[in-house]
């Protein structure tokens, strides 16, 4: 009958849900069991908490504030390359953090383009390390995300409203007051809180650009307590604080309607009138040009600096790349399997199941990689040497971290397939693997490819939990690149950056394209 789920789907869903529960709630419980009381926190730890909150608020504020003129310009101007620019706004999401940091250093660093220009003009070079460096990197990552949120808001304003405004002789200021401002009031808080949530778990940016004790986030403090002080109890306490911060941010974000970040349809431009004034055109042109320069120059620098060293890249780099590649593929396979089996269980299973399984699939949004990593270390330590399991653990944690995105991409398509073709499949006796192969997979090929590509790319570029477990003789590519940068071997780091960038983008592209090709009708 309607509520009778397939035994295969039911079992797969239950196994996946149990595994995810172990990796999230289990890790959390392990952390809670080892944590010591608040009095253990020293001044440095309080400073880390303060720094985490301040940089997150600043990063979110700047990202959204700067996104407003960019999104407005993109919403009302047609120009050559607009579509490409909108597509590129999605790129930073899968850009490895360490690669982006390398690109930003090449522009804003001590020897970067801007410093060179300043020195040439007889001025002091810029100093990037510290709070402003961290915020700069976060804005680089999240300005595009915020722009996409806001652009969606702008395009959701019906074209008829703008037509009416034009008929009534509204000036651009009138349009802003009566149409655009109400939209922003509805959309901007969601964008702000989403960016805030992302920035509270900052690890790699703070590690590379924080510049020492004054620029340490809680996530980074966990790592330091773990690796440098060998103080598991303190690492666990910090992990709990990290969970509290994330959970608070996630709870806030959940209350505000969060716009879906991956929605299509951003390639159209609403017909507008009364925008031919020179001042307005200059304003929009400048917003688009500056945003494009800010986003594209660091990426161009990665290519420019990486290419010369590429042929001479050491075997170490290629070995690390191969390791990362294996981790990425394993992580993507796991993330997609978990997401698909949980989405199927939610769509086909009894209603009582749906809410908890769906929530479990998205729980890791409110957790951070180092919290899960710390928990897994505590769980694994009594039974195995965590160092020897560094790569598998990294793949598993990466899979759990990308599960919310994979699940959100897949769940609507899976539910839709059940609604439209469920009865037909039932009446033909299609069940179990045959149903998965013949009905479900072809119908969800597109989001499946997207989810696999996203998970693979995120895992390829991850510099987080691997740093906790890191076996020194078997680094992943992001870790190897970080070591090269820390040792000021910049030419080799540049080659590694280019390889890592290419690998991440290629992984995403190949899976996404495969999904599109297999999606028929």
């Amino acid at each position: 009958m309607a509520d009778r789920a397939d035994p295969v789907i039911r079992t797969a869903g239950a196994v996946s849900a149990a595994l995810v529960a172990l990796l999230t709630l289990g890790a959390l419980a392990a952390v809670a069991g080892r944590a010591e009381g608040l009095p253990r926190l020293g001044p440095a730890d309080w400073a880390a908490i303060r720094f985490t909150l301040i940089q997150a608020v600043l990063s979110a504020g700047f990202s959204v504030a700067l996104a407003i003129p960019v999104a407005r310009a993109l919403a009302r101007r047609r120009f050559v390359g607009r579509e490409l620019l909108v597509t590129l706004l999605g790129a930073p999401f899968i850009l490895p953090v360490i690669v982006a940091v390398f690109g930003l250093l090449a522009v804003f660093g001590r020897n970067g383009l801007i410093s060179q220009a300043l020195v040439w003009a007889g001025l002091e070079p810029v100093h990037i390390y510290g709070l402003h460096g961290v915020v700069l990197a976060h804005v680089f990552f999240n300005l595009p995300l915020a722009t996409r949120f806001l652009l969606q808001g702008w395009l959701a304003i019906p074209a008829e409203r703008f037509r009416l405004a034009a008929a009534l002789g509204f000036t651009p200021a009138d349009v802003a007051r009566s149409l655009e401002w109400p939209m922003l009031r509805a959309v901007a808080p969601g964008a702000f809180l989403t960016v805030l949530l992302i920035c509270t778990t900052s690890f790699a940016v703070a590690l590379t650009l924080g510049g020492g004790p004054r620029g340490t986030t809680v996530e980074l403090a966990i790592y330091q307590a773990f690796r440098f002080d060998f103080d598991l109890a303190k690492a666990a306490l910090l992990a709990l604080i990290q969970v509290a911060i994330c959970a608070a941010a996630a709870a806030l974000a959940w209350r505000v309607a969060i716009p879906a970040g991956f929605g299509g349809g951003l390639d159209r431009v609403t017909e507008r009138w009364g925008l031919t004034g020179t001042g307005l055109r200059l304003q929009d042109g400048a917003a688009i040009l500056l945003a494009a320069l800010f986003l594209l120059t660091p990426m161009a620098m990665i290519v420019a600096e990486g290419l010369p060293g590429l042929t001479g890249a050491s075997p170490d780099i290629w070995a690390a790349a191969l390791r990362s590649f294996a981790v990425a593929l394993g992580s993507a396979a796991l993330a997609v399997t978990l997401a698909l089996s949980m989405a199927l269980a939610v769509a086909a299973g009894p209603r009582l199941w749906a809410a908890p399984v769906g929530a479990l699939a998205q729980l890791s949004i409110a957790l951070s990689p180092l919290v899960i990593g710390t928990g897994l270390f505590i769980l694994l330590f009594p039974v195995a040497d965590p160092m020897t399991l560094a790569l598998p653990v990294t793949a598993v944690v990466n899979a759990v971290m990308s599960l919310p995105f994979a699940y959100r991409a897949l769940a609507p398509a899976v539910a839709d397939t059940g609604l439209v073709y469920g009865r037909l499949s039932d009446s033909l006796g299609l069940s179990g693997w045959a149903r998965l192969r013949i009905v479900v997979l072809p119908r969800v090929a597109r989001p499946l490819g997207f989810a696999a590509g996203l998970s693979a790319a995120l895992s390829m570029g991850d510099l987080g939990v691997i740093m906790l477990f890191a076996a020194p003789d078997a680094p992943t590519l992001p870790m190897q690149m970080y070591r090269l940068m820390a040792a000021y071997r910049m030419d080799e780091a540049a080659a590694a950056a280019l390889i890592l960038l290419a690998a991440s983008l290629a992984l995403f592209w190949v899976f996404d394209q495969a999904g599109r090709r297999h999606a028929v009708a």
């Binding site: 039932d426 009446s427 069940s431 045959a434 013949i438 072809p442 028929v520 009708a521």
Partner: protein
């Protein structure tokens, strides 16, 4: 024989009861105002809707709890009868083997039924390349191939024009005659019921009445059906 033994369905304020028999090979239209429960009746027989009381029996065997795929029925829905990503032949082949791993002999049986419904040479077309009438033919080819003793049709040709609809009804009758299946077809058009011939079940006021001769029923409708057919009385 299909026997609905004291079947009742309650969904909130909606209520439907049915105690009736349909002999093998019968052709039965299901008539009645929208919302009365015509489709619900079909869903109970197909196994998509569990009755809150009573039993569904086929040839004396209780099938009330059987899975839809295990029942002696073939269903043609209002829409979405075909998977858009599969070819016409694959959509038909599903009726033989849900795994689609067909032997050569089974493959030629698929080709034969496609030819039978007038779709020779269209085996590799996908639904998007077929017209609405051709899509209905593919669905009926699958019914023909499955040769189950009960054909359940839920307003299957509502989207087709009058001439095409008549053509499809004749094909339904031909397919039923070849497989010896009984036909139960939901429709809101009395002309469809006349064309199908045979008997009709009237569903109204929470009750599905036992089948009666269609022509006699339509020529002298009881009050409830008359109000539905002729309007007024509201």
């Amino acid at each position: 024989m299909l026997w609905l033994d004291g079947v009742a369905v309650e969904l909130g304020r909606f209520r439907l009861t049915a105690s009736l028999e349909v002999p093998p090979g019968a052709r039965v239209a299901i008539l009645g105002p929208s919302g009365a429960g015509k489709s619900t009746l079909l869903s109970v027989i197909a196994g998509f809707q569990a009755p809150t009381a009573g039993r569904v029996l086929w040839q004396g065997q209780d099938i009330t709890g059987a899975d839809p795929g295990d029942r002696p029925v073939s269903v043609v829905f209002q829409d979405n009868n075909l998977f858009p990503h599969l070819t016409a032949a694959e959509n038909v082949g599903l009726g033989l083997r849900p795994s689609l791993r067909l032997s050569a002999e089974e493959g030629s049986r698929v080709a034969a039924v496609l030819a039978r419904v007038g779709l020779e040479g269209r085996a590799d077309d996908r639904p998007a390349q077929l017209s609405g009438g051709e899509q209905s033919r593919v669905a009926l080819a699958r019914v023909l191939l499955r040769a189950r003793p009960l054909m359940l049709l839920d307003e299957p040709f509502a989207a087709l024009g009058p001439a095409l609809k008549a053509e499809m009804l004749d094909l339904v009758k031909a397919v039923a005659a070849e497989t010896g299946a009984a036909v139960l077809m939901v429709t809101h058009d009395p002309e469809d019921a006349r064309r199908l011939g045979g008997q009709a079940i009237v569903v109204e006021a929470g009750r599905a009445a036992p089948p009666r001769d269609t022509a006699a029923l339509l020529d002298d409708p009881p009050p409830g059906l008359r109000a539905y057919l002729e309007g007024g009385g509201e």
